[in-house]
């Protein structure tokens, strides 16, 4: 079943300057999809369309069988959560606790459950000791962790992560990725926007955007080995695959080395 359908969607911020053109994209329930593409290719814009923060100039978007419109937007937001690229844009609360609570109030989560969830997710992202602090006075990575906790706590069946780990240290990033895997295994549909090629290996499918158009959409494996497509959108191959390419060009890789490097690069 397709949990998200984008049909012929176009969008422009300013007249006659299309930022997304004729996007057709179906995302299956329980799928993990990565969106890749050069700076300014339209990734964040696409994610804002999906949560109804922006309205398409053309085409329609269906989320969990609901056609997105001004009337249905509140319903749709019960199904889909987004961690914004800039965590500052997400904070509304005076304290970290208020901030996580805010999303839950909107979902009308009962008081006692709310308290429980706040504790649980603050611990998950290692921010429990900062619950009384003002979100704006945190370090970059701490802000990102709070933003993630706020969305996780809402327990929506679709979560979009717009470069949500870009300011985390290596260990923190691994932790969040592990958690994404776990959520996905539990059936949550995950959409990650990232510039980290290693992160994209974890997903089922990858869509590559270029100048507001879909350049390629295919399984993660097929996209990650397609050097031409990657380079067209300012992306790069994974290191083991680069090595493999080089050895092939130089004609010095035997079958064993080849299959070894191939497996290495796509290991999740």
């Amino acid at each position: 079943m397709d949990i998200i359908q984008m049909k012929n969607v176009s969008f422009e911020y300013q007249q006659d300057q299309p930022v997304l053109e004729n996007i057709n994209l179906n995302i299956k329930k329980g799928e993990w999809l990565t969106i890749l593409g050069h700076n300014g290719s339209g990734k964040s814009t696409l994610s804002k369309l999906l949560i109804g923060l922006l309205k398409p100039n053309q085409g329609e978007i269906i989320v969990d069988n609901i056609l997105l419109s001004r009337e249905t937007i509140q319903d749709v937001r019960k199904h889909i959560g987004i961690v914004f690229q800039n965590p500052d844009n997400q904070f509304v609360g005076v304290t970290v606790r208020d901030d996580i609570a805010f999303g839950l109030e909107n979902l009308q989560v009962p008081r006692n459950e709310m308290v429980e969830r706040i504790e649980k997710y603050a611990h998950k992202v290692n921010m429990a000791e900062f619950l009384n602090k003002e979100p704006h006075n945190l370090s970059g990575g701490q802000k990102q962790r709070v933003a993630i906790a706020g969305i996780l706590a809402m327990q929506t069946d679709i979560i979009i992560f717009d470069e949500a780990t870009s300011m985390l240290d290596p260990k923190g990033r691994k932790m969040i990725l592990e958690y994404m895997k776990q959520l996905n295994a539990e059936g949550v549909t995950i959409i990650t926007i990232t510039h980290d090629m290693k992160e994209s290996v974890l997903s089922d499918r990858i869509v590559v955007l270029k100048n507001g158009k879909i350049l390629k959409i295919d399984t993660a494996t097929n996209v990650l080995k397609d050097q031409e497509t990657l380079e067209k959108s300012n992306l790069e191959m994974l290191l083991p695959l680069k090595v493999l390419r080089y050895l092939e060009r130089e004609n010095i890789a035997d079958e064993k080395v080849r299959s070894y490097l191939w497996q290495l690069s796509l290991k999740r």
Partner: protein, 287 residues
């Protein structure tokens, strides 16, 4: 020495009336020329706080910081004995969040603001803007646009362009490559590296990307929980056993080399520092 830290402590006063320790007993020297330093460490360890002391955006709670001979401490700042303008000109700092740096109506105005403020005439400032916008991978048409209606990576590029246009003696960049697309990241790291090699300038980069540390840095500083826990050679750092306790990781290149050497039973003559070196060594070994 251009920048000297002597036993510097710093705390933030939180809204909850708690004091948050950000720097503890930092002693550090940075040369005016020829350094390529990466500053790394777990989130919240004090990296941003440390570099904000390097151009006097913050003043130490105790201890002192000396920037090109000017002593920055509580007393001097309180008595207004410190001229900040020359310091800001000599030490350029790109913020972690570009939003904190962009404020003008157009990108052009934003970029020329710094140079003009430091006495560069308008015409020269505009010429610099036209040049640096291309250096960061955007075309001239961006100059007339608003810095607010941009994608995340585009904002980052513009904020870097603004500091490059100031042509500071020391260039400090707080996570300049987070949010950049892979080719953009490589291109900008090369830009910083070229400024370093051609003009012999000191560059300091905060990053969570271990590959940047391994492939570019001559010296690496590691922060942990407000303390400076390592100041030295990057290669040596990654051979240490405790880097995981510092929330760090092994760079991709080293990781791959270790895997290949073990699984394919090979031995590379030298530890390659970049892809090209890896390729040539593998070629020699596999042939």
């Amino acid at each position: 020495m251009a920048i000297k830290f002597k036993k510097v402590d710093f705390k933030y006063q939180g809204n909850d009336n708690k004091a948050y320790l950000a720097l503890s007993n930092i002693t550090l020297n940075i040369k005016a020329e020829g350094e390529f330093i990466t500053l790394i460490g777990e989130t919240g360890s004090g990296k941003t706080t440390l570099v904000q002391h390097m151009n006097a955006l913050l003043t130490p709670l105790s201890g002192d910081v000396e920037i090109f001979g000017v002593k920055i401490n509580r007393e001097n700042v309180k008595k207004k004995r410190v001229k900040l303008n020359p310091i800001r000109q000599q030490v350029g700092l790109v913020f972690q969040f570009p939003e904190y740096q962009l404020f003008e109506e157009t990108i052009l105005k934003d970029i020329i603001f710094g140079p003009k403020n430091f006495g560069v005439d308008e015409k020269t400032a505009i010429e610099r803007a036209k040049n640096v916008i291309k250096v960061v991978g955007l075309d001239e048409s961006y100059l007339s646009r608003s810095p607010f209606n941009l994608s995340g990576g585009e904002k980052k590029r513009v904020s870097i362009a603004g500091i490059l246009a100031m042509e500071p003696d020391i260039l400090i960049l707080d996570e300049p490559t987070s949010g950049l697309d892979p080719l953009g990241r490589n291109a900008l790291l090369d830009v910083f590296y070229n400024i370093h090699t051609k003009l012999n300038k000191t560059i300091i980069i905060i990053t969570h990307d271990m590959n940047t540390v391994y492939e570019y840095a001559k010296r690496v500083l590691v922060m942990r929980d407000s303390y400076l826990v390592y100041d030295g050679d990057p290669i040596e750092l990654f051979t240490k056993k405790n880097i995981e306790n510092w929330n760090l990781d092994v760079p991709d290149l080293l990781h791959l080399i270790n895997q290949i050497e073990t699984d394919l039973n090979l031995k590379l003559p030298k530890k390659p520092r970049n892809e090209t070196e890896l390729f040539t060594q593998l070629k020699a070994v596999l042939k």
